[in-house]
């Protein structure tokens, strides 16, 4: 496993030896304005220097950078070094990326979530690359006895045009390492980018395609035990008694330990512990309501009508607006619970020793995991290390630390290194779902079809604020009321890729389609008019960039040839989330009497595109994910227990079910924002609106496959 322990002497030695001496540029990732520090190779080799993060250039021309954020498929491990290499004018072929382990002193925000890593680190990464380049140019100029301004750089070399001389970075690092890093360096202009905006392949492609041990589940330690955990089979159950005699007698079983509501079977192989687990006899008692999906439907209606709502945003006077309305449109939209289903199920390695804890595995929040393990074990955080592996998807599930704490708990009880593995069934029935939500929308139109009033009430299951009250159309409607009610359910929930907006965007964008139709307006024109209104006469605060939203709308309209394709039924959607703007057009055709989704056109503004290949796939993957879960995703419950336990019951989208996805990026030179989430929220709406165009049937509930339109269609 290619990982790097920031604070261990052993690893410094390893890296220093690999680089064969050279320039080590220590820089403070947490603070873009702090000046970097040049560290001498010999100090690094001796382990006497402990700097934050680093960029190293070896005499062998190998450039190594630490990528601190967990890689779950969002492409950060490729995109981060690209930014450094751009400013450094490095030869990309010689750049090596190393996954950084948890080190909060070095890396602020060592989290994968909220599509936030790129906007957070963009300037910091550029500074790092540009500083190293500056020092190498200084070193070359000194050796040639020329002015640095006469020198240029490209592909890992410094050139002096007048004399025709050139030196590779590796040849200059010893001299560069004796120079003092400047406080400020000049960054490139966008027009001079050579690497950023190009397609660069995933740095782990070869290891992935050849089956190298990269993922948490692949981690192995000599003498390690395997464990599976039996958790309560229903939300609301509490453990009463355990009879583990039969399980203990099974081959390969080392121990069975019980803690809280869990029973862990620990043994010598995955299969053995899974088999022995079936022999456990566990009694549970009811400790909370055992909810069923039918209860949720009733609760939603009750809370929509009678719930005590928290006001999230209030502009103007909705009461008067609705009283004076020429037309009122009402609709409700509902979505179910969803499992995250990362293809690598939850797992973690833990070794609770007498002097500290070692943790290894896939987590989106290593710092949170460490903090919770510190609470459990009583060790100070400095005594707990977290090695971050590559992760087989996350989708928000790995933001929780439950699976890390459990592993530590088991290791603590059995006093041995343990890898806890969740079966797919454990993963799917174990909770922390995307919460089910129901929305009620009401719109008031005046005689000319202008939107004069807008109301949204969200009811969620442990969703907290199930609205995003400042998103469009807020700011464009004079009289607006957005509130929410929450139901506390024993079914556990948590963030799921594009939290809340993964469903709210679809509901809002579908409802706006209904309102546009009632107003007798083209859905795109309708939105553009509202945005123009928000610009000229904003209602309350506008917390999105109106021009950027207009730009993606127009790009999607133009690229889809909106309204001009014969026999193609188009549906529109636009959404701002996680700092990026995405508009989508879904295209449905009727084939043999059936509506078929053929194409999704996506117009994306995430500022400067760093890795074109990775970004294209983030958008396509986001559309496929958004479509798949809108169409098929459904977790239901009976008496507190999940009905779907594996992929035979919980349907994930497959190759035969995807449309073409055309992706277009806005080129506006704005600092980049994230892409891990923003392409997903608009998809459900674009698709539902296209199906409506084709069939005149609204899809107001997810999964769509359960709606009347698709009954009888597999």
């Amino acid at each position: 496993m290619e990982t790097f322990e920031n604070t261990s002497r052993r690893s410094f030695m390893k890296i220093a030896a690999a680089a064969g001496g050279g320039l080590f540029l220590g820089f403070n990732w947490t603070n873009a304005t702090a000046s970097p520090v040049v560290v001498h190779a010999k100090d690094v080799a001796a382990g006497t220097v402990n700097f934050n993060s680093y960029l190293s250039i070896g005499t062998d021309n190998i450039i190594t950078i630490v990528s601190p954020n967990p890689e779950i498929g969002q492409g950060i491990k490729t995109a981060f070094p690209m930014v450094v290499a751009e400013e450094l004018d490095a030869d990309w072929k010689t750049v090596k990326t190393v996954q950084g382990n948890l080190d909060p002193a070095a890396f602020e925000r060592q989290v994968t979530g909220g599509s936030g890593a790129v906007p957070h680190s963009w300037e910091r990464l550029r500074q790092a690359g540009a500083t190293a380049r500056y020092l190498l140019v200084e070193a070359a100029a000194a050796r040639w006895k020329v002015q640095p301004t006469e020198c240029s750089t490209s592909d890992g070399k410094v050139f002096h045009k007048a004399s025709g001389k050139s030196l590779s970075y590796g040849e200059l690092v010893e001299e560069a390492s004796k120079l003092t890093a400047p406080k400020e360096v000049k960054l490139k202009e966008e027009k001079d980018f050579k690497l950023i905006g190009k397609s660069v392949r995933n740095v782990d492609n070869h290891n992935i395609a050849t089956g190298k041990p990269l993922f948490g589940l692949d981690f192995h330690r000599e003498g390690m035990l395997f464990a599976v955990i039996q958790r309560p089979k229903a939300f609301g159950f509490k453990l009463q008694s355990v009879d583990d005699k039969a399980a203990r007698a099974m081959p390969g079983i080392v121990d069975v330990v019980t803690f809280e509501n869990s029973v862990a079977v620990v043994g010598k192989s995955t299969w053995q512990v899974n088999k022995a687990r079936l022999a456990l006899k566990i009694e549970y008692e009811k400790a909370a309501d055992l909810e069923s999906s039918s209860d949720h439907n009733r609760i939603f209606q009750d809370l929509l009508n009678n719930g005590e709502a928290t006001v999230r945003r209030k502009d103007g006077d909705v009461h008067t607006a609705f009283k004076n309305a020429a037309k009122v449109i009402k609709a409700e939209y509902q979505c179910p619970f969803l499992a995250h289903s990362p293809l690598e199920p939850m797992n973690f390695f833990a070794h609770v020793r007498a002097d500290g804890v070692e943790l290894v595995g896939p987590t989106q929040t290593p710092d949170r995991a460490r903090g919770e393990v510190a609470k459990l074990t009583g060790f100070p955080v400095e005594k707990i290390s977290v090695e971050i592996t590559r992760q087989g998807g996350g989708f928000g599930r790995r933001l929780a630390a439950d699976f890390v704490v459990e592993a530590a708990h088991v290791s603590k009880l059995v006093k041995a290194p343990v890898k806890v593995i969740w079966t797919r069934e454990d993963d799917m029935t174990g909770g922390i779902y995307r919460p089910a939500v129901r929305y009620r929308f009401e719109a008031a139109l005046d005689k000319s079809g202008e939107l004069i009033g807008y109301k949204l009430r969200g009811v969620g299951m442990n969703a907290g604020n199930s609205t995003r009250e400042d998103n469009f159309p807020s700011g464009s409607v004079d009289n607006l009321l957005i509130d929410s009610v929450d139901h506390k359910s024993p079914i556990t929930t948590g963030p799921w890729r594009a939290p809340i907006t993964n469903f709210l965007a679809y509901a809002e964008q579908s409802f706006l389609d209904e309102v546009a139709e009632a107003a007798g307006k083209d859905p795109i024109e309708f939105r553009l008019n509202l945005l123009e209104k928000a610009k000229k006469q904003p209602a309350g605060e506008v917390k999105y960039d109106i021009d950027r939203m207009i730009a993606v709308i127009k790009l999607a309209r133009d690229k889809s040839n909106w309204g001009k394709k014969k026999g193609v039924h188009q549906g529109f959607s636009v959404y701002f989330s996680h700092r990026s703007y995405v508009a989508q057009v879904g295209e449905v055709v009727i084939e043999k009497g059936k509506p078929i989704l053929k194409n999704v056109i996506a117009a994306v503004d995430c500022g400067i595109v760093i890795n074109l290949s990775g970004s294209l796939q983030q958008v396509r993957g986001g559309v496929v994910d958004g479509l798949g879960h809108a169409m098929y995703g459904n977790m239901t419950f009976k008496n507190g227990a999940a009905d779907q336990t594996n992929f035979d019951g919980f349907r994930l989208i497959r190759m035969s079910e995807i449309p073409e996805v055309d992706v277009h990026f806005v080129d506006n030179g704005i600092s980049p924002t994230g892409l891990g989430e923003p392409a997903l929220p608009p998809t459900g709406g674009a698709v539902a609106n296209a199906f409506y165009k084709a069939t005149k049937q609204r899809l107001r509930n997810q999964p769509f496959i359960e709606e009347p339109l698709f009954k009888g269609i597999s």
Binding site: N205, G211, H220, F226, M655
Partner: protein, 153 residues
């Protein structure tokens, strides 16, 4: 427990396991070949796909006792240098997001191309439909199978 003799990637192995142990777990836990992935355990997702005598099989539901003299190929043994046309195509097309399902996708695609060196789009979809990619890289998987087919003589 019994001793099973296996031929995996042209190498002889033996594993002391119960006969009902799925090949997947023998590969991963006993032989240290962790390139073959666990995704569902019920032959729904294809992450565990390996070749048995050249044919794609789901190792998560294949008991080790059923293998007999069969020759097993895993992702680690698909090629000596990681340069099988399918592996090359996966890199060229830059298929992977998280990468977890891709070993299974590659093994499924390699078995398809062995049987049908020039598959139609429909044959590609029908075959690859058995493999789930949770990240949604299906467009590129499809394209990569075609690129691999163009490399296969």
């Amino acid at each position: 427990m019994a001793l099973f003799k296996l031929t995996v990637n042209k190498r002889a192995y033996q594993a002391d396991v119960e006969g009902d142990t799925p090949l997947l777990w023998v590969l991963r836990d006993n032989l240290g070949l962790v390139g073959t992935k666990y995704g569902c355990g019920i032959a729904q997702c294809g992450a565990c796909t390996v070749h048995l005598d050249g044919k794609a099989v789901r190792s998560c539901v294949l008991p080790v006792s059923a293998i007999g003299q069969g020759k097993v190929t895993t992702i680690e043994g698909l090629s000596d240098k990681g340069d099988h046309p399918v592996q090359q195509a996966w890199d060229e097309v830059d298929v992977a997001q998280c990468g977890y399902c891709q070993a299974g996708q590659i093994m499924t695609a390699a078995a398809l191309l062995k049987e049908k060196p020039k598959p139609t789009d429909e044959e590609i979809v029908n075959t690859m439909n058995g493999n789930i990619c949770r990240c949604g890289t299906y467009h590129r998987i499809h394209e990569a199978v075609k690129v691999a087919a163009s490399k296969t003589k």
